[in-house]
Amino acid sequence: MKSILILGVAALATLATPAAAQDSASVDVIGTAEAFCSLPSTWQFASSTNNVSASQFSGNTWTIPSALVADSAGNAVQSTAEVAIRVRGQAACNTTHTITVTSSNGGLAHDASSGSPPAGFVRMRRMTYNANWRDQSWGVLNFVPSAPGDSRTYDHGSRVPPGVRDFDVRMGLLRDPTNAPMLAGTYTDQLTITISVAG
C-alpha cells in the first residue's frame, strides 16, 4: 500500500515537470517591399528661357520655332543665348537606381538627310539635356550627345530614395557658330529617359 501511494505521487510529479511558471512562444510577421520606380507618362511645362513659351510644348513634344534655329536665309542662328525648356511630371522611387538618358539622333538632326547628307550644309544642331529629380543637384546633367544613340547614365548609389517626387527634364538648343547654311526640312531628336532599379 505504501508503494502504491509513492507511485501515485511520482506520477503526479512527472506530469508537472514540463511546464514552468512561465512559457512563451514567438511568431515572426514578414513581408517584402519590392524595389519600385516610376516615371510620368505625360509631362507638363515647368519653365523656360525667355525665348520659349509654354505653348510650344504639347503632349510629349517640344516644337522649337524655326526662327530660333535658322534665319530666313537658311543660316543657322548663332548665339550664346540658350533656347531651353523644362518639363515636369510626378514620378516615384523607393530604392537605389540609375537614370539613363538616350538621344536617338545625337542632337537636333535633319530627318531626311540621315542616310546621305549633301556636302556643304549643316544638318545637325547640338542639344544639351538634364534629367533629374526635382530640386536635386544630382542626376544626368549637361548631357550633350554627339552621335545617334548616345546615352548617359547616372548611378543614384546609396543616396536617399526620392519617394514620390517630381521629375524634371530640361532640353536646351545650343546655337554654335557654323560655316554653312542649314538644310531645309524638319529637325528632330527623341529623348528616352529610363530609370532602372538595382538588380
Partner: protein, 199 residues
C-alpha cells in the same frame, strides 16, 4: 484515513510513522476488538503554464507594396491577413496572458536616416483569440504590449490560441502612424511574443 500526496522527504517520515503504527496494532491485539489509525499524506502541485509550438514560426504577408509603392490597400483592412495557431496552451492556476512584440521593420541597414516621406516600420493589429477574452495590441515602439489577468486555471480550446494579424499601417521614424508613406525597398520582419505566466 485521510490521504494526501507528499514529497519524497515526507514519505520517508511517513514510512517511520507507519511502522510505528503497525507495532501498536500488533501489541493491541490482545486488548481490543477494533483498532484504527490515521495516515495523512500531503503534497503540492506547483502553479504552471505551458505553450506549445506555433504551427508556423513566420506569417509571410508577401509583397507589402501596392502598384504605387505605398502599403498595399489590401493589407490595411480590418480583415485578418495572416494567422498562426499555438496549441497546448494552459495554466493550472491564476495567471497572466501577455502579447508583445515589435513592428515589421526593414531588415537592411541604410546609410541615411529614414526620410520623412518614406517608412521602414509597419505596425499591425495582433490579436489573440481563444482565451477568456481576445487580447490585442499594435506594436509600434517595440515596448508595446497587452495582457489579460485571469483568476483561475484555464486551457485553450482544442484548436489552440489563434494569432490574427490585420490592419497594417506605415510608421514614421518617430513610430507614429501615418498613411501614404512609401515603403523603402527590402525585406521586413516583425515579431509577436505570447507569454503565459502564473501570478
Amino acid at each position: 484515513m485521510l490521504i494526501l500526496f507528499g514529497s519524497d522527504d515526507m514519505f520517508h517520515r511517513l514510512k517511520l510513522v507507519t511502522v510505528g503504527i503497525a507495532a501498536l496494532a500488533v501489541s493491541g491485539v490482545a486488548h481490543a476488538n477494533e483498532v484504527s489509525a490515521e495516515i495523512e499524506l500531503g503534497s503540492t502541485v506547483i502553479g504552471a503554464c505551458s505553450l506549445g509550438s506555433p504551427n508556423v514560426t513566420e506569417i509571410n504577408l508577401g509583397d507589402l507594396s501596392g502598384p504605387d509603392g505605398l502599403l498595399a490597400a489590401s493589407l490595411k483592412v480590418p480583415t485578418t491577413v495572416g494567422t498562426a495557431v499555438i496549441a497546448d496552451a494552459w495554466c493550472n492556476t491564476s495567471h497572466r496572458l501577455t502579447i508583445e512584440g515589435q513592428p515589421m521593420t526593414l531588415e537592411t541597414a541604410k546609410p541615411y536616416a529614414q526620410p520623412a516621406y518614406m517608412t521602414r516600420h509597419i505596425t499591425f493589429d495582433a490579436k489573440l483569440v481563444g482565451w477568456a477574452a481576445p487580447v490585442g495590441f499594435r506594436p509600434r515602439s517595440g515596448s508595446d504590449q497587452a495582457f489579460l489577468e485571469w483568476p483561475e486555471a484555464r486551457a485553450a480550446p482544442a484548436a489552440g490560441l489563434r494569432l490574427d494579424i490585420s490592419k497594417l499601417e506605415t510608421l514614421t521614424a518617430a513610430r507614429a502612424e501615418q498613411p501614404n508613406l512609401m515603403l523603402e525597398a527590402g525585406s521586413y520582419r516583425g515579431r509577436v511574443t505570447v507569454t503565459l505566466a502564473t501570478n
